[in-house]
Amino acid sequence: MGLDWKVVYALARRELASYLANPAGYVFLTLFIAATAAGAFLQEGFFARNLADLALLNKVMPLILMLFVPAVTMNLWAEERRVGTDELLLTMPVRDLEVVLGKFLGALGVYTVGLVFSLANVAMLAWLGNPDSGLMVATYLGYWLVGAAFVAIGLLGSMFSSNATVAFILAALGCAALVFSGTAPWANGIIGCGLFAAAAALVWVSASGSGKFAGFVALGGALVGLLLWLTGTWPGFVDAFGLLGVDQHFYGFGEGVVRLGDVVYFLGITTVVLYLCTFMIGRRHW
């Protein structure tokens, strides 16, 4: 049987309503708009460039999202586990994937509301000059896709702990891996080792059906990655993990170019991470 989108909608609506009924939600939206406005206009060179675009914001947007999106997602599942409502939810007529999609779309809705309010920046550009509408649409599509991938990573981070602070840190680390990948060879190497660790733990957990010794297996995976990197056994190690970086895929959107490969990159990351979220929810059966 396929997904029931009515159930997904009901779950997403609850998430969105809960966030927007909470003063913290409005604090987030205000800070987000302020941060994007500062990124767009308060950086040195905005007026000297004499261009009505968001090029300066584009440089810092992944960094802003790296901190803001985990703040939205940290409670998504951690709070359910802390309060115990996950038990209630998972004994309703819902599939694990419906729960994941409901949570994801609810948080993506919150982020989308933030993006809509940040259109004030575009209004400011229109007041100052004559921004290219195609460029603005492409740029905002890029922001939305980066945000979608980060929301998925945030949801995954929220599934590792019932503590919201831990969930925030894990999510921010996951987003940081994508933000800093491709920026320096050492960053690529560290991210590569981290992914080796995560993949080893995932394979171990899937094969054994238990989380026992997963930490040791992850450490082993990281060591294998480290050996491949430092001994030069895999010469393309650093370059391969540099390809994961958000910047190089987001760059085109900021230039007004929507490449299929870039869209697939963001949707691919989102899909893979949402699959991992479903896997994490299924862990309760172990």
């Binding site: 009515k6 009901a10 609850r14 309060v83 038990e87 004994t91 309703m92 819902v94 026992k212 059966h285």
Partner: protein, 258 residues
């Protein structure tokens, strides 16, 4: 004139040699029992006996390490069967977890939407009346007393007019008057539904249950009626005797009756 014996009611809940192990800890050990339709069965045992873990397995939230469970003839471990079963199952988890930022009305509306209930407004009106939560219907759950929260949890469990009700310590946190009301509600519901409730309160068992399953350290140590439990000593004495530290050589479960 031939007096034909009425056929026994069908089995609604069945557990067959169910065990659940968390790491090195055996929470439930080789538990077998069945519950017939239209009965109120009490899962009695001290804290940590394995009652909640067993209930989590019956609802499909946890999978048994070994053995099998069935609800209405289907395994809650298979996704599609679980979806179908959960439409006929009302569940009140331990401590009645709820979304504290919602009002009872919003919560019931939300779970009704998740369950895709037809005539949701009528269903809400019914459970609000049954659980007597009219006066707090539009107050945030986080600001309600423990007793009202528990009643909202009960209302949530009854929303789909379930065939099977699994209630994990339904009177926990209630005052004596509320306890009496909830017990009366359980008795009333037990006339048409199969109810399995957990408790460590002996008076509750006497007040509502047709049958008692007593568990201790994850093992079934008694299966019978309240009268049978009291047969050779007072209920209290029997409970404390059964719940005393287990002696492995003598802790064999009594034969489970269907």
């Amino acid at each position: 004139m031939s007096s034909s014996k009425p056929s026994p009611a069908p089995v609604t809940i069945r557990a067959e040699k169910v065990s659940k192990v968390f790491g090195d800890f055996v929470a439930v050990h080789d538990l077998s029992f069945s519950v017939r339709k239209g009965t109120v069965t009490a899962f009695l045992g001290p804290n940590g006996a394995g009652k909640s873990t067993t209930m989590k397995m019956l609802t499909g939230y946890l999978a048994p390490t070994s053995g099998s469970v069935e609800l209405l003839g289907k395994s809650p471990m298979e996704t599609e069967a679980r979806i179908e079963l959960s439409r006929k199952l009302g569940y009140l988890p331990e401590n009645g977890p709820l979304y504290l930022d919602m009002t009872p009305r919003e919560l019931l509306g939300h779970f009704g939407a998740v369950r895709k209930l037809d005539k949701l407004d009528q269903a809400i009106t019914r459970v609000v009346e049954q659980c007597a939560i009219e006066e707090v219907l539009h107050k945030p759950i986080g600001k309600l007393s423990k007793g009202f929260r528990q009643r909202v949890g009960m209302a949530q469990a009854l929303l789909c007019d379930p065939e099977v009700l699994i209630l994990d310590e339904p009177t926990s946190g209630l005052d004596p008057l509320q306890i009496r009301e909830v017990r009366s509600l359980i008795r009333q519901l037990g006339e048409s539904k199969t109810i399995l409730l957990s408790t460590h309160i002996l008076q509750e068992v006497e007040a509502v249950a047709d049958r008692v399953l007593m568990v201790h350290e994850g093992r079934l140590v008694f299966d019978g009626s309240v009268d049978e439990l009291k047969a050779d000593s007072t209920l209290d004495e029997r409970f404390y005797a059964l719940a005393a530290p287990a002696k492995p050589s003598t802790a064999k479960p009594e034969k489970a009756k269907n």
